[in-house]
């Protein structure tokens, strides 16, 4: 990775000067807006030390500039805690927030038995009414918790605050404590009001804090298994986590907890019994990893199961961590085995996709990870950006020290974590870490998206509708990857658009089988005839002298 594989932009766009493209993107904005956006639109260039230019990220969205960003509630309830099947996620607020986050993210979950709890198909809300706004909603919240308890007797109930809750002064945490006391189940609240922070990202952090504070570490039952890891930041969209589990199990690696695809309360409570934290989506979950290391001594590494090569790489990294030849051999064996099908399909499809251009504007890690998959079938990522990421996700964690915390971030609590007196147990000694590092093994590191992107590609944070259209008109990519809000505007321009939040209706795309699925899906999209029907014969050839086929 990094400098060693420094790439230059696609031949096919040699003619296009990114600087002037940037100008064009900014041209129409009012000066203040242009100035701010200029910081968030960067022409990539990777230094020898893998350093990338500074990008403006995790800053306020500009009112009126059509954004694709969501809110803190969406990040907390929707993203991080939504996928957990066995506790009642109760939205405290008007009906909308609960309704919109009801089953819309395609997080798959598979209860072990027909009667094991699964509340993911349900939407729970206090559906606040005007009188509640006026007189306060705590009473209703209390009653709702009681009703939920009476009906379902869940292991735990979590409360998610929506915008008005803070303003009307409801103390959801007090209510949570009180009802926990009363009902004897775990009940906790999240102050994830929509206006917190500048995007979903704030909600991720809030979720991380809450789950760590209220659940992680509650169950010390030792977990069977020789190689025990947690999988962090994998939400099992379209079954990704199932495929990753398949591969890990095959290697004999035990997943203690997944945060939070296909997850359960007990997994979280027991997560600290793992010996390694592996991070998929750095943006949404690194907080938990950091806190677990501080408190329990579990190191974390960044991995990526998106892309067959990346998957292989990640498996090797895990094996190397455990420093066990048996595991190392097993992993190699399985990689070899799994790559047969992958190579077969790749060989079939790559010739049809080679050299085609992709753009990715999504999430907090997917815009990075999916570049590997496109690369595997010879497609070039000409431009990419995140919706809600921070500078470290772009430029790498090395820039963390010089990210200044602004007002919006300061409002998100940073938990004080200290080693747990009884349970702090460093999984690796300083020496071990030394040696591994010496061999180029990196802990607690993420080098970010930009280091891997070609020179002169455009990196755009929180891309706007206006910029999206311009970019498509200028580069005419073969495919554009984003979310549901962008999908049909882009397709109306005749460019196939792949959702990388929900995968449209596809997936899994993780692991080896996932890579195959993705190759085939992209092949379908970029090589389909249907995009060629846009002009009717009389539009192609309007003059009436036109001849027409007849027998």
């Amino acid at each position: 990775m990094g400098a060693t594989m420094k790439k230059t932009a696609a031949a096919s766009i040699e003619g296009i000067d990114p600087a002037s493209v940037k100008q064009e993107l900014l041209s129409k904005y009012p000066t203040k807006v242009a100035r701010k956006r200029a910081k968030q639109i960067v022409i990539n260039t990777v230094g020898e030390d893998c350093s990338a230019p500074e990008i403006g990220a995790n800053t306020r969205t500009i009112p009126g500039i059509i954004t694709q960003r969501g809110c803190s509630y969406a990040g907390c309830k929707g993203v991080v805690l939504g996928p957990t099947r066995d506790f009642v996620n109760l939205t405290h607020g008007p009906i909308g927030c609960g309704f919109y986050s009801w089953l819309t993210r395609r997080n798959q979950t598979r209860p072990p038995t027909p009667d094991s709890p699964n509340f993911m198909t349900y939407c729970f809300s206090t559906d606040l009414q005007d009188e509640d706004i006026v007189f306060g909603g705590e009473k209703k919240l209390r009653a709702a918790i009681q009703e939920a308890y009476d009906l379902f007797k869940p292991k735990a109930i979590s409360i998610f605050s929506t915008c008005p809750v803070g303003l009307i002064g409801d103390d959801v945490h007090a209510v949570a404590r009180e009802m926990k006391e009363k009902l004897g189940i775990n009940i906790f609240g999240f102050s994830c009001e929509g206006y917190k922070g500048v995007s979903q990202s704030a909600g991720h952090h809030i979720a991380n804090n809450g789950i760590f504070k209220h659940v992680v570490g509650l169950d010390d039952t030792p977990r069977e298994g020789k190689y025990k890891i947690n999988l962090l930041g994998e939400y099992n969209i379209g079954g990704d986590a199932f495929e990753i589990d398949r591969v890990l199990e095959k290697c004999g690696i035990t997943t203690v907890a997944t945060f939070s695809g296909n997850s359960t309360y007990d997994q979280f409570a027991n997560a600290h019994m793992a010996d390694l934290n592996t991070i998929m989506c750095h943006r949404s979950i690194n907080y938990v990893a950091e806190m677990m290391e501080k408190k329990f001594g579990i190191p974390w590494i960044k991995i990526n199961f998106i892309g067959a090569n990346s998957t292989a790489k990640s498996l090797r990294k895990i094996a190397k961590y455990f420093e066990d030849q048996a595991l190392i051999d097993m992993v190699e064996e399985i990689i070899a085995e799994e790559m047969v099908e992958v190579e077969k399909v790749r060989a079939e499809i790559r010739p049809r996709c080679e050299g085609k251009l992709a753009m990715l504007f999504v999430g907090g890690s997917r815009a990075h990870h999916y570049q590997d998959l496109f690369a595997e079938i010879g497609m070039e990522t000409i431009s990419a950006g995140y919706e809600f990421a921070h500078r470290d996700d772009y430029e790498g964690r090395k820039v963390l020290p010089d990210i200044k915390v602004d007002a919006d971030s300061r409002n998100i609590e940073e938990l004080e974590i200290h080693p747990d007196p009884e349970r702090y147990r460093p999984r690796r000694t300083a020496e071990q870490i030394e040696t591994l590092a010496a061999e180029g093994f990196t802990f607690r590191d993420y080098e970010g998206m930009m280091a891997q992107m070609a020179e002169k590609t455009l990196v755009i944070d929180d891309i706007s509708q206006f910029e999206t259209e311009k970019m498509i008109e200028i580069y005419k990519p073969a495919i554009f990857c984003a979310g549901i809000k962008e999908k049909f505007a882009i397709q109306k321009k005749g460019i196939p658009m792949k959702q990388l939040h929900s995968y449209d209706s596809g997936g899994p795309y993780a692991g080896f089988k996932g890579a195959v699925n993705f190759y085939r899906e992209i092949d379908r999209m970029v090589n389909s005839k249907v995009w060629s029907y846009i002009k009717a014969p009389w539009q192609v050839n309007p003059e009436l002298t036109a001849t027409y086929a007849f027998e």
């Binding site: 803190s72 915008c163 109306k492 321009k493």
Partner: protein, 458 residues
């Protein structure tokens, strides 16, 4: 089971809503605003609201849904959103160049108490609203009513901001179509045209949310009611409001503001309701009904008489919005079907009594609930099973668990197409509904028939 925790035994809930049969006002306001030509809806609140509304509308229509937001931060929610909205108005007119910005509020800005008209005036005063462009608004607190209420409020906003009476009455009829599909609005307009009647329909989302694939993305497509047309509504001869919840407030406001006589009708879903709509158009504008319409009506009736045996005494469960359910229930009852479980999430006493009236003739207990939810609906079904359920996509979980034929109807439909293109209003819409109902019932009969009674001719 997908809904494995839903018990048969029903206990009343006072605080907990489970599986809602409604959503919040702003999305309805956004949908209505999209029915104005060259209008950009604007959500005054946290950006999450806007993101959620756009996503849900997009999944339902499979079309671009453009809208802006004030992107409140914690600061804004403490000090008020005026700065954000002023900046938004400036940016929107500069970058996206709409003719109209339609601002709706959210639970956040409503709780704060932002005064939109005052802010809009300031924007005007600051010269942030270009000549001939408009900022309109509607107050749509999420904690009151439902998405339908939001639609009604934004539609009323169109009257408040645009309708003007010049003193000269035209022979145009205003039609407020209610919270229906673009295809429905198109069909309502077509029916009026068949009658040779000039109308102004508002809002009108046809050709906005059922657009063609042309290889071009237009920020502001052909469709939508134009500002001049909206202004002219004050001079129209009469207003026909289709559906009490979604359309009556605007009609009344127009009557009060410009003395335009208004009629309230049920949504023209089914034979009787469509008859009433045509009859009202006819009498209000003094035209006679052309054969083409009698033909459509006769074809609908032909299906009813031909296929009556399949409808007769079949029990149906309905979930949806009040205006739709009132007409749909009336239609089903007219076919000798038995709608016995009826839920809307939208509050409103009138709804329950109206349904009681419509279903009075059914010799079977009828459960009806306004401000109800799908959890309750599901429990009703467990206690008294039905042959068919109709409602939005979320019913598919119940349909699968209980193995009940399911016809998708209403909002949102996230897993099938057709609603954007084929209307369910009017006689043609009635035919489509009957075809779908028959398909669902007959497919089930074919599936469950013992081999000896598997029918070739049905």
């Amino acid at each position: 089971m997908l809904l494995r925790h839903t018990p048969t035994e029903i206990r009343e809930r006072s605080a907990l809503t489970i599986n809602p049969a409604k959503t919040c006002q702003p999305i309805g306001a956004m949908y209505a605003a999209l029915g104005i030509h060259r209008c950009l809806p604007h959500s005054h609140g946290s950006q999450g609201c806007c993101a959620y509304h756009r996503s849900t509308l997009t999944r339902h229509y499979k079309e671009p849904v453009m809208a802006a937001t004030s992107s409140f931060t914690e600061g804004a929610s403490v000090f008020g959103g005026q700065a954000n909205l002023l900046q938004a108005i400036d940016n929107i007119f500069t970058v996206y160049e709409p003719d109209v910005i339609a601002v709706h509020t959210t639970c956040l800005s409503e709780t704060i108490g932002d005064d939109i008209p005052q802010i809009a005036r300031k924007a005007g005063a600051d010269g942030k609203i270009p000549e001939g462009k408009f900022v309109i608004h509607a107050n749509t607190p999420s904690y009151v009513g439902s998405h339908v209420t939001g639609f009604a409020n934004m539609t009323k906003g169109m009257v408040d901001y645009f309708s003007t009476s010049t003193g000269k009455r035209t022979d145009r009829i205003n039609i407020i179509p209610g919270y229906v599909e673009p295809s429905d609005m198109e069909e309502i307009a077509r029916l009026a045209a068949e009658l040779g009647i000039k109308i102004v329909m508002f809002p009108d989302t046809s050709n906005v949310l059922n657009r063609p694939q042309t290889g071009k993305f237009e920020m502001y497509p052909k469709g939508g009611v134009t500002v001049p047309a909206l202004m002219s509504t004050g001079d129209s001869k009469a207003t026909i409001a289709l559906g009490r919840t979604a359309s009556w407030p605007a009609a009344r406001a127009l009557d009060v503001k410009c003395k335009v006589h208004c009629e309230l009708l049920n949504l023209p879903i089914g034979l009787a309701a469509t008859d009433a709509f045509i009859e009202t158009l006819r009498t209000v504008s003094g035209v006679s009904v052309p054969d083409s319409i009698n033909l459509e009506r006769g074809r609908l009736l032909d299906i009813i008489t031909d296929m009556h045996q399949y409808f007769y005494h079949r029990k149906v469960g309905l979930v949806g919005d009040p205006d739709q359910l009132i007409s749909l229930a009336e239609f089903l009852v007219s076919l000798d079907m038995w709608p016995i479980h009826i839920v809307t999430g939208t509050p409103g006493k009138k709804f329950e009594s109206k349904i009681r009236e419509i279903t009075a003739g059914i010799p079977h207990q009828v459960n009806v609930r306004a401000a109800g939810d799908m959890f309750l609906f599901h429990q009703w079904i467990k206690n008294d099973p039905v042959d068919l359920i109709m409602g939005n996509t979320y019913l598919k979980y119940i349909a699968r668990d209980e193995d009940i034929p399911f016809v998708r109807f209403g909002f949102p439909i996230l897993d099938r197409i057709g609603h954007g293109i084929f209307p369910t209003v009017g006689y043609r819409g009635g035919m489509r509904l009957l075809e779908k109902i028959l398909e669902a019932l007959m497919d089930r009969q074919d599936r469950d028939a013992p081999e000896e009674s598997f029918e070739l001719v049905m």
